[in-house]
Amino acid sequence: MPIAEAQLERMLLLNSVSDFLYREADLLDERRYTEWLDMLAEDYQYSVPLRMNVAYGETDAREQTRAGREICWFDEGKATMSLRVDQLNTGLHWAEEPVSRVSHLVTNIRLDAVELPEVEVSCRFLVYRNRVADETDFLVGRRKDRLRQVGDSWQVVRRELLLDQSVLLAKNLSIFV
C-alpha cells in the first residue's frame, strides 16, 4: 500500500526535528555552548516552573508555578542564556570547575502541531550529570518545544520544561537542562 504523501511529509518532518534535537544534545554534551546558542532563536523563551505537591483536583490550578508571574527554576530569554554561556567560558565558574560529565537523552519525540514554518514538539528528557567523584544527578521530565524552520534547519523559539522534582535533589542547576 503506498504511503500517502501527507503521511510521508510528516515522517520526514519528524525525522528532521528529531535529528535537530539530537544534534542539540550532542553540542551540549560536547560543551560546544557557543555553537549551541546559534540553535536558539533571538526571541527564545525558556521556562522551568517549580513543581508542587497539591491535592487531587487542584493539580491544574496549583501543581506548577506560572512562568511570567511566579518563581520558577528558570524563566528567561536568550540574553540571559548567553550570559550563562559567558560564565561557563570564564574558567572561574567553580560550580562547573572541574567540568561535569553530562549526557542529554531525548526521547518520546512527537509532533504536537504543525504550523509551518513553526512546529510544536513534545518529548521526554533525561539529563545525567556526574562530577568530581560521586556527585551524580538525574534530571528527568517532560518538555515542550516550539521550533521554527530557518533555512534547511531549525531554531528553538520556546522551551517549557517540567522537571519531575519538587525539592531539587541536585545542589545546583549549573548545566543546561
Partner: protein, 497 residues
C-alpha cells in the same frame, strides 16, 4: 577588663571548648560530628525562634503552607478568625504526616492512616489544630479518650513580624522582640516596602527548595557577614555581569559614582548571634538600571523612605546580607530574599528561598525583580551556584580524621571590635574582610548547644562583653579606630533609635 562568669550548662560534651573565639579558632567537629548535630537538634532548634513562612502565603482562612522547624515538619495555618498557627505535621496516633501537600486550603487535616482528623475551625474545636474526629471513638475508647489532650502539637509561640512569621517550641523562650533586639532594623528593611511603608511586602508564589551536602551552618555563616568570599567565589559572575544595568555591568549594578558595594560597609555583630554586613549610615540607594521606567519607581520610593526616616531621626542603611540566629538569612536590597537552611544531618541540608516584592509594585517592576532574583539566586542563580560548590566540598574535605584535628581560622579583625549604639552589639569597620560576626554566631551557638538555661542565656546576652572590653581600652585605641574609619570613607554611626 570585665569578665562574664561562664555558666556550666547541662549538656554532656562541652562544645564551647571547640569554639575558641578569643583566638579565632573553631573546630571542624562542629560541622561534622553526629553527636554535636544531635545536641543541636535537642538544645538549639527547639528553643530558637525560627522563620516558618510569610503571612501572604496564607492570606485566607483555611490556607496552609508546609514548612520545617529544624528537622520537624510543621504547618503554617490561618484559622476562621484570621489567626496564624504553627502545628507539628504529625498525627498524634501513629505519627503519620497528616499533610503532604506543600500548600492548599482546608479547615481540617485528616490523617490517611486511621483518619484521626484535626480542625482549624474555631466553631468546631476550642483550639485550632485540636483533635476533632476519631473513627469508632466510642467502640475503641469508650469515654477514656481525652480529645483535648491529643490535638496536633502546637508551637508554643508564634509571632507575625510585618508578615514574617516566626515560631518557637519553648514556652520559656524570651519574646520575639527580646530575642531579636535592635536587629529588628534589618528585619524592618526586609519587610517594609522600598518607600518605607511598614510591612508593605509580599512574597512571590514559589519557594526554591533544594538539597546540599553540607552542614547548615555554612549557609548561616555565609550570609551573616562573609563578604570576603565574593571576589573569589563569585569571580565568574562578576566578570560576566548580570546587574540591573544590563549586560556587562557589575552583578549588583551598584552606583559606582556613589561608592559602590564597599562604601562604608562594616560588620554589626549581636551578642545574641545575629549579624549583618552592610552600611548603617549610608545606603546604596538603588542600582543603575538599564530601563528608565524602573529608575522612576525606585528613585521615588527611595526618596519617600529617606524623608520618612529623616523625620524619625533615623539614617538609611542596613540592607544586609544578614542572618537572624540561627538559620534565617536574608538580603533586604537587590535581591530581596529570605533563605532558610533546614538541617537534615551534619552533612545534609535543605535550603529554602523566598523572594519578596513591594505589594504595590507595578507590573514591570515585579517582572523585572522576579527575573533578576532567578538569574541571581537559588540553585540556578548565576551567583549562588558557586556557593554550593564551596559549602559541599568544604564539608567533604573536613570529614577526615586528620582534617578534623585542624580548626578553621576565624581571625579576621580579631580584637578590633568597636562599641555600637545598638543594644548588645559591636561593630567592626572592615568593609570586606572581617569575621567578628561569625565568632559571635558560633559563641552563641555553643551556648545553646551546651544547653545553658534561659536565665543563663539571657544573662550572657544582657551585656556585650566585647564592647565592654573595647571600651576599657578606648584610650589607647581611638586613634587606630579613626584611621580605619577614614580608610573606608565611612560616615560612622548606626541608625539613631
Amino acid at each position: 577588663m570585665t569578665t562574664v562568669e561562664e555558666p556550666t550548662g547541662t549538656g554532656a560534651p562541652q562544645v564551647r571548648n571547640l569554639v575558641d573565639v578569643k583566638n579565632g579558632e573553631i573546630s571542624r567537629e562542629i560541622f561534622i560530628d553526629e553527636q554535636i548535630f544531635k545536641n543541636e537538634m535537642e538544645n538549639l532548634f527547639p528553643r530558637a525562634w525560627l522563620f516558618v513562612g510569610h503571612a501572604t502565603q496564607v492570606p485566607e482562612p483555611g490556607d496552609f503552607f508546609s514548612s520545617w522547624m529544624g528537622a520537624d515538619p510543621v504547618l503554617l495555618t490561618r484559622d476562621d478568625k484570621g489567626e496564624l498557627h504553627v502545628l507539628l505535621n504529625s498525627c498524634r496516633h501513629r505519627g503519620m504526616r497528616v499533610c503532604r501537600y506543600d500548600e492548599g486550603n482546608t479547615m481540617q487535616f485528616t490523617c490517611p492512616y486511621h483518619a484521626w482528623s484535626y480542625s482549624i475551625d474555631g466553631s468546631l474545636v476550642d483550639t485550632p489544630g485540636a483533635l476533632h474526629g476519631v473513627p469508632q471513638q466510642k467502640a475503641a475508647y469508650g469515654t477514656n479518650l481525652e480529645r483535648e489532650k491529643w490535638g496536633l502539637v502546637r508551637a508554643a509561640k508564634v509571632h507575625n513580624y510585618k508578615g514574617l512569621v516566626f515560631a518557637n517550641w519553648d514556652p520559656e523562650a524570651p519574646s520575639f522582640d527580646e530575642y531579636v533586639g535592635d536587629f529588628h532594623w534589618w528585619l524592618d528593611n526586609l519587610a517594609d516596602a522600598f518607600d518605607g511603608t511598614e510591612g508593605g511586602t509580599e512574597v512571590f508564589r514559589g519557594v526554591h527548595k533544594w538539597r546540599i551536602r553540607s552542614n547548615w551552618k555554612f549557609v548561616s555563616e555565609n550570609f551573616l557577614g562573609d563578604t570576603y568570599h565574593g571576589a573569589s567565589t563569585h569571580a565568574s559572575v562578576e566578570a560576566v555581569g548580570i546587574g540591573p544595568g544590563g549586560k556587562g555591568k557589575r552583578r549588583h549594578g551598584e552606583r559606582q559614582d556613589q561608592g559602590g558595594f564597599s562604601k562604608g560597609r562594616m560588620k554589626t555583630s549581636f551578642r545574641r548571634g545575629h549579624g549583618a554586613s552592610d552600611n548603617l549610615a549610608y545606603e546604596i540607594p538603588y542600582p543603575e538600571f538599564a530601563e528608565a521606567d524602573l529608575d522612576e519607581y525606585f528613585v521615588a520610593a527611595w526618596e519617600k523612605r529617606k524623608q520618612k526616616l529623616e523625620a524619625e531621626g533615623r539614617l538609611l542603611g542596613g540592607r544586609g546580607p544578614a542572618t537572624l540566629f540561627p538559620n534565617m538569612s536574608f538580603a533586604a536590597g537587590f535581591p530581596r530574599t529570605i533563605l532558610v537552611a533546614h538541617p537534615i544531618s551534619p552533612t545534609e541540608t535543605e535550603v529554602w528561598r523566598w523572594y519578596l516584592v513591594d505589594k504595590d509594585a507595578p507590573e514591570n517592576v515585579r517582572d523585572w525583580l522576579r527575573r533578576y532574583y532567578m538569574r541571581y539566586a537559588g540553585p540556578a542563580g548565576m551567583t549562588e551556584q558557586d556557593d554550593m560548590e564551596n559549602w559541599d566540598y568544604a564539608t567533604e574535605a573536613s570529614r577526615g580524621v586528620i582534617a578534623r584535628r585542624y580548626p578553621y581560622n576565624y581571625q579576621q579583625g580579631l580584637g578590633q571590635e568597636t562599641p555600637s549604639d545598638l543594644d548588645g552589639s559591636v561593630h567592626s569597620h572592615h568593609a570586606i574582610a572581617g569575621e567578628v560576626n561569625a565568632r559571635a554566631f558560633y559563641r552563641r551557638w555553643a551556648e545553646f548547644v551546651d544547653n545553658l538555661s534561659w536565665p543563663e542565656l539571657n544573662k550572657l546576652a544582657e551585656v556585650d562583653d566585647r564592647a565592654m572590653e573595647r571600651a576599657a581600652e578606648t584610650t589607647t585605641d581611638v586613634a587606630d579606630g579613626v584611621k580605619v574609619l577614614d580608610a573606608v570613607d565611612v560616615v560612622d554611626g548606626p541608625p539613631a533609635k
